[in-house]
């Protein structure tokens, strides 16, 4: 069996080239692959297209906003291109207002489903979400069973940086509670999936095959967060 286990975050992200599409999950500060994002920040890849739920927060925790602030991100694809409150002027907001970064705003369910479509080999799908709003302008509309829908296309990634709870050495993954959020979708939608493990990496056979959230066939690289790593 191919060894997927890395012992350095820097090594695990060393080959991510400039211009890549990088997916990183997280919702409400849970399930964010902060150690891998920190490593990609150190690695310095530029002109990235980043896919996340939001474009970073105001706190000092490492997230996609760290890479945005460092000028590594050319385009952000997310469900929030303005903060929930106008007082939250993040680095993304400043750069977006100055036209220093591009962005595509996608309703959250459409964002998740576009990635699932990419993972599932689906060429697109029709959704009622956004019909009658300015986000549907210019998109193909179709009435299906009496209801108007808009056509949305798949969203694949080059790399996914993932935070999971537990893995086996083959890369079968388990998540804990709301840590799951976008993680399984992004892990399956990207060509190369790199995972940081919060609890432990066990031997193959130790995880119940009926309780695997992402099959190891999707996982390329695994790394255990060391005791001095970022767990929050």
């Amino acid at each position: 069996m191919k060894n997927k286990i890395y012992d350095s975050f820097d090594q695990a992200v060393s080959d991510i080239p400039d211009g890549s599409t990088v997916m990183s999950p997280g919702f409400g500060q849970v399930g964010v692959p902060r150690n891998l994002l920190a490593a990609l920040n150190r690695q310095g890849a530029k002109h990235l297209t980043a896919v996340s739920n939001n474009a970073g927060t105001l706190d000092d925790k490492i997230d996609i906003g760290t890479l945005i602030e460092a000028g590594q991100v050319k385009k952000m694809i997310c469900a929030f291109t303005a903060p929930t409150h106008p007082s939250q002027v993040t680095p993304f907001v400043q750069m977006y207002n100055n036209d220093e970064i591009d962005a595509e705003l996608v309703p959250q369910g459409t964002l998740a489903e576009r990635m699932r479509a990419a993972a599932a080999g689906i060429g697109g799908f029709y959704t009622p979400t956004s019909v009658g709003t300015e986000l549907a302008e210019g998109k193909e509309h179709r009435e299906i069973n009496g209801r108007m829908h808009v056509l949305e296309y798949p969203l694949p990634g080059d790399f996914a940086l993932i935070r999971a709870w537990r893995a086996d050495t083959f890369g079968n993954l388990q998540f804990r509670m709301a840590q799951r959020n976008f993680n399984p979708i992004m892990a399956t939608a990207a060509a190369v999936t790199i995972v940081e493990i919060e609890d432990k990496i066990v031997e193959v056979g130790e995880l119940d095959p009926d309780h695997i959230h992402v099959p190891g066939v999707y996982v390329n690289r695994l790394i255990q967060i060391p005791s001095d790593g970022i767990f929050g």
Binding site: A82, T129, T133, E134, L135, G232
Partner: protein
Amino acid sequence: MSDKPKLERQAMCDRLAMEFQDEWIVNLGVGMPTLCSNYTDSSKEIIFHSENGVIGYGPLAEEGKEDKHLVNAGGQNVTAVPGMAIVHHADSFALIRGGMVDVTVMGAYEVAENGDFANWRIPTRKGGGIGGAMDLAACAKRVFIAMEHTTREGSPRLLKKCNLPVTAPSAVKLLATDLGLFEIASEGFILKEYAPGWTLEEIQAETEAKLTLATDAKEFRFR
């Protein structure tokens, strides 16, 4: 503008929560709508769904007893209750688009008399914050809104037509403001319940759209 006392946010949310029925799946938006979960009625079992894939969560966690992996849509630590289930984000929105959510309660900037509402973008600011609002507004069985009746500057928010970009057309069924409870019907806003001491004329003076007094209109109740 009248200086009579207006309704508190908790009262507005309690009133909307009184409409929740036994076994409903309820999705609460970030901010004021989360107050709906403080309303308790032991005769009903409500299943709270959060867009990050938590189905059936309990009250906010006590300080010191938080599970760092368990948050609601606002990132607040909530508690696990028996029967809770976790799915990933795509399945969480499959549940939403699939019509499983009985009601979503959201905040808004504006609501129009045809049920259009706006809560994601202000054109003077670049970008917008949609989150799951468009999916929920388009696909939940009912959309309830909790918001202040006027802007901080006193401009009306119950309008003939939304000025801001809409989140979904013809979506809102019920609206609680600090001046009362309003239903949206084919004839527009129906004033069902008014804040204590307020008259239809006084509420109309703070409203751009025409209000119709319900035949059974009464004073706002929230307990």
